[in-house]
Each structure stands twice: as structure tokens, then as C-alpha cells.
Symmetry: C2
Subunit: 196 residues, 2 copies
Amino acid sequence: MSEPLSDTALDQLFRTARSYNGYLDKPVSADQLRAIWDLVKFGPTSANVLPSRIVWCVSDAAKARLAACASDANKPKIESAPVTAIIAMDLEFPDHLPTLFPHVDARPWFADETVRQTTAMRNSSLQGGYFILAARALGLDTGPMSGFDNAAVDAAFFADTPRVKSNFISTLGYGDPATIFGRLPRPDFDLFNTIA
Amino acid sequence: MSEPLSDTALDQLFRTARSYNGYLDKPVSADQLRAIWDLVKFGPTSANVLPSRIVWCVSDAAKARLAACASDANKPKIESAPVTAIIAMDLEFPDHLPTLFPHVDARPWFADETVRQTTAMRNSSLQGGYFILAARALGLDTGPMSGFDNAAVDAAFFADTPRVKSNFISTLGYGDPATIFGRLPRPDFDLFNTIA
């Protein structure tokens, strides 16, 4: 049985953490990207399907290619961040189940295409949540975004693997406090929760 | 700028955390449910849409009603857990945007029904990831599940609010280590990640 984490940790993960529009001039190493994955991978997914596929854009060329698919407001955020990650999903994730879920052949559970799409979307988004919190747990900041053309990103990055589709994207780095606005409102428990 | 959390905290959140099939006989209070929400609510969502609606089933009656909609393997987990939460989503989330995103009228961004559904699914799943990690951060354990009939849950819990649809469910409590199996495999970085 675990104790609650310290207030400092809860602040860093949730309460004072923010989404950043710009970052300090401080690099993020490949080892740090691997360290994020080495936390994200432990987050639960349905039957361990782990559908997320992540492209970590670190080169100027990759960031420019991604920025070309994004809204005007998001282009400069993508190009100036140390890293921008594409959180994508593999719609044919069941191919990996013999390795990821070895005790029984779980592939028939996902034979239906709609089930596969829903499962990929739900679980790659869950993993997106793990990604954001893993980055924060490691002292980094993120700037998740949906303001881009998914089909254009898929054409630019996944033309050779059409089974992989973009879900959302996120900048990553050491956030520059000068680039955030005031916190948007957060509702109390009673507005969106019910105890039954 | 933040430092990485301690190894103990990273273990509790990700590396040694597990999904539980059963729980210790130790209650979870309504204050603890509120404390989870008071972390989850700070997790980022697209334009602060916060589409998750959570029904926390704590009464035997509510858990039985939910278990009736679940797979045979999941029924006893739901009925015996201190709490089983329904992570649902409000497809008409834009109605709250004048409060949640007050600076500009963001409702037109979500006028298209497909965009609304995709946004609700992506962001309520993200919030599901925050829920799992917030519970762990507070010393609790979860058992997320998709093995249930979404339409049946919607009929049983959201008949009066058809704009709300179930996404996934999760047991919650202090996990009993006797109820878990060996950890399923987790792939190394290179299988599912690319640096571009």
C-alpha cells in the first residue's frame, strides 16, 4: 500500500503544471525521450495493446514538415520547441498481441474494424495522458495540440505505414514561464461528477 | 524548472504500479474521490473542453447495476471493489465552453458532430489517463476495464442524459497484491518509437 505523494510532486504533476507555448533554450536529449517511454510503457492499456506509436521530431527538417501541417497559431510553437512529438496509433495493433499478451490469442477480440479503431483511439489517448504526466514527472513540460490536419500529418510521416494514424501532437522541453497565459477555469467536483 | 521526481514516486506512478483485480477491505471516502477529481481537473484538454463526466459507483445497488452490463470476468471485480468509476463523456461539451474557455467563443470550433465525437473521445480518454495516475499519486490503485456493453451502461446510467456516453470503467481502492498476475511484457523504445 502506498502513501500519497508529496504536495510538491502533486503540484509538479497536476496543480501548478501548465501547457507551454514556448521553451527555454535548453536541450532535451535522446536519453530523456527514452526515459519518458520507459515510464509511458508501464501505463495500463486494454489487454496490453499499447497502440501508441511516437515520432519524436527533433531535427529542424522534421519540425518544419510537421509545422507545415499545423494551424498558423501552432506552427511557431512546433518549430521553436526542442522536440515535438507525434502521438500516433497503429490500427493493426493486434499483430503485436502474441508478444504483448502471450497467454492467450487475443487477436480475435479485435477482429472488428470499428472495435479496433475505438480501442486504438481510446488507448493511444490514455497513453497520451501517460506521456504528458511522465514528461512532467521527469521535470519536463509539454504543450499538447490538436490544431493540425491529421490527414496531412499522416501523409507526411506515415505514407509508408498507412496502418498508423496521428492522434495528437505535443511540444516538449523546459517550459518558458513567459509563454503561458492565466490558468483557465477548472470546475468543482459537483459539476461533472456524481456519486451513485 | 522542475527536477525529476524521486525513484519511489516514479515507481508508484508507473514502474511498480499495477492494475488490480481485487482490493483490500479498506474503504475509500468521498473526500478521496473529490481529491482525485481535484487533480484530474488540472490535466490539459483541448481548449479546456474537459469532456469527462464521472459516475463513482459506491453503493451496492450502483455496482450491481454496472456489473449487470459487464463481461462475466469483470462482474465480480466491479461488485467487490470499494468503488467502480464510469469514465463517461459529454458529446455536447461545447455548452460549457463559455465558462471553461471564456476569452473567445470556442463553440463554433466544435460545431461538426464528428469533430465533437472525436474530441470527446480523445480528451475524455486523456482524462482517463489522468484519473489512473491521480489515483496512484494519492496512494490508491485502479483496475481499468473495457469489457462491458457501452450501450447497456448508457441505458442504465445515462438514459436521462443521452448526450453522455460511457468511455471506460475502472475499479478503485487499495489493491490486494494477491489478485494480480505477472506483469505483461513492455517493449523497448525502438519497437514503437522513432526519432526524426
